[in-house]
């Protein structure tokens, strides 16, 4: 279970809409919790894949990750996952997503159709790296 406050989920989706027709990405900052993780904030980042291919590829560099770790640690948080968008494509992991995936991280994918976010879904890599399993997203609305 991945718990995301509604305003944070909206920020993730807005980032994907702003990046359209390219893919947008960033880091999920938060904490591990019993039975899952809680997203507390995001760190939106620039897509570092080569410019002409960003419509279907994204990259975050090791320097991005070090910066994210520093920012997370400063706030008593961890990097708990990655978010990225799939322009005009379902919110499901591709083979490339799987090939490059880290275990444990939550991968939140937002499908963006014609610059409008349609749905966000979260995925976890299987232990044997053979596939992703969907992880439920819980809306952390107060009350």
């Amino acid at each position: 279970m991945l718990t995301i406050p509604p305003n944070i989920l909206r920020s993730i989706q807005s980032h994907g809409e702003a990046a359209y027709p390219n893919e947008g990405a960033g880091l999920l900052l938060g904490q591990a919790a019993e039975g899952g993780k809680n997203v507390v904030d995001i760190l939106p980042l620039a897509n570092e894949w080569e410019a002409g291919e960003q419509y279907h590829r994204y990259m975050l560099t090791p320097q991005d990750m070090l910066r994210g770790e520093t920012e997370a640690a400063r706030r008593g948080l961890d990097i708990i996952g990655i978010f990225h968008s799939h322009p005009d494509h379902p919110a499901e992991p591709s083979n490339m997503d799987r090939d490059w995936a880290w275990p444990w991280f939550s991968y939140v994918i937002t499908s963006v159709h014609q610059a409008h976010a349609v749905i966000s879904r979260s995925w976890l890599l299987r232990e044997d790296r053979s596939a992703f399993d969907e992880e439920a997203i819980q809306d952390a609305s107060p009350g």
């Binding site: 893919e23 990405a25 894949w49 419509y55 279907h56 590829r57 994204y58 990259m59 975050l60 560099t61 090791p62 991005d64 990750m65 070090l66 770790e69 961890d78 990097i79 708990i80 990655i82 990225h84 799939h86 322009p87 005009d88 494509h89 379902p90 992991p93 591709s94 490339m96 997503d97 490059w100 995936a101 880290w102 275990p103 444990w104 991280f105 991968y107 044997d128 790296r129």
Partner: protein, 94 residues
């Protein structure tokens, strides 16, 4: 002793240790010692051909070992190695 910093997604494989002491004269030896101590790390660090996966970066005292001598880079006592992820992926094939 040389230490290796473990990124969050790999800590489930190191009994939650963020820093693991290792022995070895080179970066390659140090990584071998790490996977000897925690064998389940191996599949996430190396591909089927035994090469470090493209998204696994090893930094020696803040410098990427690919810019030094790779796995043959010598390590000294008190050196600090870091495993740093890069992240990539994407949707449509073309």
């Amino acid at each position: 002793m040389t230490t290796i910093r473990i990124p969050t997604p790999l800590r489930p494989y190191t009994n939650s240790q963020a820093e693991v002491p290792v022995t070895g004269a080179t970066v390659g030896d140090a990584l071998s010692d790490l996977t000897r101590q925690y064998p389940n790390l191996k599949q996430h660090l190396y591909n089927d051909g035994g090469q470090l996966r493209a998204f696994v970066n090893i930094f020696l005292n803040d410098e990427d070992i690919r810019h030094i001598r790779g796995a043959d880079t010598p390590v000294q006592e008190r050196d600090r190695l870091m495993i740093v992820p890069s992240i990539a992926g994407g949707g449509r094939l073309a």
